[in-house]
Symmetry: C2
Subunit: 348 residues, 2 copies
């Protein structure tokens, strides 16, 4: 039914071995023979059987990209950049690799299961993006899995994720702590003393690091933090909206709201507006990530730009072995404070 290598070989009057060699092009084949084979391939409309090839060669051209939420541009941008470098079809890379992105939805189990699936497929490389989950058992399981993947020859790269020690993985870590500190420092510099903070989900490293940065800035300026000023939520607009209302309820005298990311900040802006407060006259708002839409908020969002595309591209190159891994297996990627209209001095 389906055309196989043997069929092509028969048609081209050569052995299957020769056809294989023509297709893989790593063995001398006379030009005339090659052409005959190629012609047969074309005429029969032959398509290599991936699994068979992977089995025999004990390698595969699959590269996995794990993301927490594919609908979030934060991940979409990184994934796109990674994929572009992996080369997918048409990319600059020579060999064609199937770069696939897997959506974990932030679930620990799915993260692990996808890794197993990729291990099954004997993936050539795996790139994990975004923050990790801070749950000891899960982290141990992940580390063990990553270790096993690395041992099996799969290149493992972490992009925007803290280093996983002892796993052989290469990490491109975002300096969420530093960015958070700089951002809150900026607000304090403007004169703010009562700052609300809308954090992400509790158990994520990204959440913790950004919050730590925020607190470090407060501490550095001798501002004592009121526990009422911090609310946890998800990394989305809705959560930002609700958290802001909660913050306002707890302490209406806040003069600034720092959000875990830009989507949350947008929600915060909406909540403030709906509460009759002006931005930044009454309350300043700051985000994080600098996603494309942040500049379109009115007023434009002050935020910390993370070079998502650049980091993703680099991760992709490292995964393909086209760029050397950073010394020590880890590189810290810094953010850049983008001061825009959503922050100003407090009203009084």
């Amino acid at each position: 039914m389906t055309v196989t290598l043997a069929d092509v070989a028969a048609r081209a009057q050569v052995s299957p071995a020769t056809v294989s060699r023509v297709l893989n092009g790593n063995y001398p084949v006379a030009a005339s023979t090659r052409e005959r084979v190629l012609k047969a391939v074309d005429e029969l409309d032959y398509v290599l059987n991936g699994p068979a090839s992977a089995l025999a060669a004990a390698t595969s051209d699959l590269v996995g990209i794990l993301v927490n939420d594919i609908a979030d541009p934060f991940f979409g941008i990184m994934a796109g950049a990674i994929q572009a470098e992996i080369g997918g079809p048409g990319g600059r890379a020579g060999g064609e690799r199937l770069a696939v992105v897997c959506n974990t939805g932030g679930s620990p189990e799915r993260e692990l299961t996808y890794l197993t699936l990729l291990q099954r497929q004997r993936a050539a490389a795996v790139v994990l993006t975004g923050g990790a989950i801070e749950d000891a058992p899960h982290q141990a399981a992940m580390d063990a899995k990553l270790r096993k993947l690395a041992d099996a020859g799969t290149r493992v790269v972490l992009c925007g994720r803290p280093q996983a020690p002892e796993t052989g993985a290469i990490a491109l870590t975002f300096d969420n702590r530093g960015g958070g500190q700089e951002l809150t420092g900026h607000l304090i510099g403007l004169g703010h003393r009562r700052l609300g903070y809308i954090a992400g989900p509790q158990e994520r490293t990204t959440t913790r690091h950004r919050l730590e940065g925020h607190r470090a800035a407060l501490a550095a300026h001798g501002i004592e933090e009121d526990p009422r000023w911090t609310v946890h939520g998800r990394y989305d607009r809705r959560s930002g909206y609700e958290a802001t209302l909660e913050l306002l309820r707890r302490d209406p005298s806040l003069t600034a709201v720092v959000a875990a990311n830009d989507s949350v900040a947008l929600g915060a802006c909406a909540a403030l507006r709906d509460s009759g407060l002006r931005i930044p006259d009454d309350v300043s708002v700051a985000g994080f990530d600098d996603l494309p839409f942040s500049i379109d908020a009115v007023p434009a969002l002050t935020t910390v730009r993370l070079p998502l595309a650049e980091a993703g591209a680099r991760a992709g190159r490292i995964a393909m072995g086209r760029e050397e891994a950073p010394a020590g297996g880890i590189a810290v990627v810094r953010g850049e404070l983008m001061v825009r209209g959503s922050t100003a001095g407090p009203r009084e």
Copy 2:
């Protein structure tokens, strides 16, 4: 080196066949034997060899999702919904399937190559999202490819894409034409007579259909279109910004700007503001898609909501054979006009 089925069999004191059957669970195996096998699997930390399994069984658990731009939430939302239904790991589906999203970047060649790659992997199903490219040779090539995939047993579903006749593909098509007509009709109803239109790239079906809807609305109200009122660009913010400036240059008397999608509309808003024009007092702006951020624009964007998540979910279910295909292999998914603050009557 790596653990194989045979190793597990040896350890559990059974034949490889039995181990395989335990793992696939579609053949009676005595409970005691099963347990012994499972124990051995666990102890040896055995991971099935995907390619070998796929080769022997002549099937694979890979499902491909093709998107034009993974960094665009339009595709991200659909892809996420599809993937959730495919069941990826942890999904509701029983068998674990590796749902992978492939980023074509809108390039015809990459689209085709990804399809070949998926064909190689003997993918169980393929879902193509977003508009198609209107280039006869490419379309013919695509159709042939889809036909071949379908013939090989791969289920092919088009989500938000026009039907591909004679290919055996099932289509969930967005009613871009109807949505566009309704949107422009709304603007005309408000009293606008001079409407600028920022279209997407020329060769995409989505672009053409939305534009056709726009023109149909104009025609229906007896408004003669000025060719200067239409500008083509990409589906992004930047393009919307530039196109709007161009539109303003060509005809400063325009009272409304209709954008190809929400990102473009956001860029248009920015350009108008930067030109000293108020929205909607001086110029009304309308988008398309109703992406999550559209409601956060100030003023909130009037747009056509496309049920991306719902359509994606349905496409996913059909791809998995968990939902019946629509009669005739095609279903039209309608959009819903969302009237918000960015549109109002013209100034004069």
